[in-house]
Subunit: 146 residues, 2 copies
DNA sequence: CGCCGGTTATCAGTAGTGCTGACTATCAGT
DNA sequence: ACTGATAGTCAGCACTACTGATAACCGGCG
């Protein structure tokens, strides 16, 4: 967009980045439809695969709101992918546990997500995909504190 | 996240891309707060800077919904950045016109957005910023039809 | 001319989202 | 026992973007 005497202000990289992010999110959400899951469910399942955190722990790990976490764990329980149990050491807490079906669903979900990512990045040859991964990682890492 | 016998399924690039997109959107929206604008307003102002499209034209150009466009043009009119006029050739249409104040606001908005993008990309040295721009452009272009 | 299907802009109502605030149960410290 | 803090839950709110209905207007056709 021209705004002055021939000089061009670039806001395109950021704009395209926003749009790509939205497209990627939609692609991922679509990929998970067959499993009746959203990205956030997979994220949570990933964490309860590695341990048995409380819902509060999950909030800290994922940055999600506590009330949203209630709904996500509700969903996972309803689907049989996880269950809640009162913590033995602190009865305020619900530890969240991945079931066997949940583990299977997680594996399948990751496969579907990897497929979707493959589609997203398919316009780039392998070497440049690595480059892209590297650059994105560095930008992402730089914002880690936020 | 490990899911099997040592093999690692990468869904990180896409995930980080989504998060970066969200962060960029937030950065851009924040940058525009002093002008009481959102990204979509600037997008629309950009188009009415280049011509005098109808609201319907703007919908086609931006991909926004017709009802959302009403609100956006309402905002721009209220701020004095644009005004509506009945088209002389088709009195169903409202052509949207950028005012002098709107043009000034657009310039300032683009400056603020460029600043925000500079901050976003600041973790990368100039050469790699160009690389990143190139890669993002190509992924973006590949999705143009959607 | 008068009718009619299609288009433009608008508004009300709706569904989905994520959050705040209130509430209960529980903990740790006094 | 009393106090302040924390975990989980729920109702309600604010925001978003949309669907559907409406009024004004266009172009064409009998």
């Amino acid at each position: 967009m021209r705004t002055g005497a021939g000089d061009r202000i670039d806001t395109h990289t950021g704009y395209m980045l926003v749009r790509l992010g939205v497209a990627a999110a939609a692609l991922f959400d679509d990929a998970l439809i067959p499993l009746n899951l959203r990205g956030r469910h997979v994220k949570v399942m990933g964490h309860i695969h590695d341990g048995t955190p409380s819902q509060q722990d999950l909030c800290r790990l994922t940055g999600m709101d506590r009330t949203t976490m209630v709904a996500v764990v509700d969903d996972l329980e309803r689907l049989g992918h996880a269950r809640r149990e009162r913590s033995a050491t602190d009865r305020r807490k619900h530890v969240v546990i991945l079931t066997a079906e949940g583990a299977a669903a997680l594996t399948e979900a990751l496969r579907l997500l990897a497929e979707a990512q493959e589609e997203l990045l398919s316009p780039l040859p392998a070497a440049e995909r690595d480059q892209f991964h590297d650059l994105v990682s560095r930008l992402f890492a730089a914002r880690a504190g936020e």
